[in-house]
Amino acid sequence: LTGERLEEIRPSIEQQLARLEAVRGFDLDESVEPATVFLLKQSTHADLRRTGG
């Protein structure tokens, strides 16, 4: 992005970063894995069940 374009979209960037405040401020326990990992586990386990593993 050029400097000029950055200036043009500054309000949108600021709005999106404002949303992050709440996300960054949330107290996450280190034991919490990303939901994608959870879904991968689920699908792997399902595959294992199907193949009798």
Partner: protein
Amino acid sequence: VADSEIVFQPASKLGQLIKTRKLSPVDVVRAYLDRIDAVDPKVGAFITITREQALRQAEEATKEIGAGRYRGPLHGLPYAPKDMLATRGVRTTNGSKITADWIPSYESTVTARLNDAGAILIGKLHSVEFALGSHWRAPFGLARNPWHLDYSPSGSSSGPGAAVGARMTPLAIGTDTGGSIRKPAHSCGIVGLKPTYGRVSRFGVTTLSWTLDHAGPMTTTVADNALLLQAISGADPRDGSTSAERVPDFTGALTGDIKGLRIGVPTNYFFDGIEDETAAAVRTALARLKEMGAVLVDVTVANAELIGPASAVIRLSEAASFHEKRLKKHAELFEPLVRQNLEAASFYSALDYIRAVRMRSVFIDEVRRVFERCDVMAAPVANPAPKLEPEAARSGAATKSPASSPADTFNLGNMTGIPAIVVPCGFTAGPPSLPVGIQFYSKAFDEATLFRVADAYQSATEWHKRRPPLTA
């Protein structure tokens, strides 16, 4: 049924009349094409109308049924998907000038399943650009709310909401990444269902956000919605995210019996910022369900106010990744709001994205806890449809603080994958008098219970029988 009354009948009734040969698919398709000719110039729900193809297929269906080869309850009925679903040989624009001339060489699984069931494609429906843009600047013009043309049908499934609401198609397919089926269902006075993540294939559905996108049915009645979900559900080898979970008989779930059903009513967040008249309509609907035998249970959803912000990080990061090449090559061709959102998403870091995906696990655990206390959870949907006006003229739209915005009642479903249905539960006093819906969530893969409670409510009320004040 008189010709002029065809478009006001539920799809399930039209299907019965076709099955018993009291109506032919040609009669039905012609009635809807006439309705489109009469009101769509005002409503703007269709991007493409497949008139000749639809009439040809209606004639084939009529012959097929006449020869005793009846395929099932959707045979001979018109349908229309949001223009984010690929249809072989039929222009698929994604609501964007960038893909305005794209004619797919393949069929989305959803539309393929509907075609196999004998349903007839009648056209492709309006969407804001790539399901992410603005109504005002939508490249294919404004879609309008059939209950008042100065108001928005809401989006991003603006076309499906407006078309079903205006009785221009009995069956439509929308997509929902953060409420985009449920918001227009509420605003247009119809039924919309976001299925469980993995229930319906997204093969051939243009991506907004891989881990949040869903496709689902939009109809005037719950029974029609159940029929439509039945036809499009189930595992698909071309979409690895679909589930092998058994697809139950959804119509069989419409027993009308909700005695003892536990309906969770959130005591935190979900009613925040919802206007009194809308909240009252939802609470009146809950009181009606209690009279019918349901048990209302207070529930809380911890950290509900964080679901919206976390989902925005995921949605926009994934959208920016999906459109990365297009954005580098043709940034200027995007509608300005879409371009701006995608460019601004590059300011989210990998850490922010992973944090949001970890928060998703927290919300999934929370949902498990909530559904230990209830079978479904009710919530408002949103405030009534907003007036259509340029973004700049909207008072404080861009500067509104999150604290003063109405609750984000949608992203709980997209972030955790659980299904949700919206069913009409009233109208504002007006003027203008605009529809209000109530939303129900259930456990993953329990759409049958959603249909049961929504159908029981609809059978006891008349909201879905009102007709929008549209004239040719």
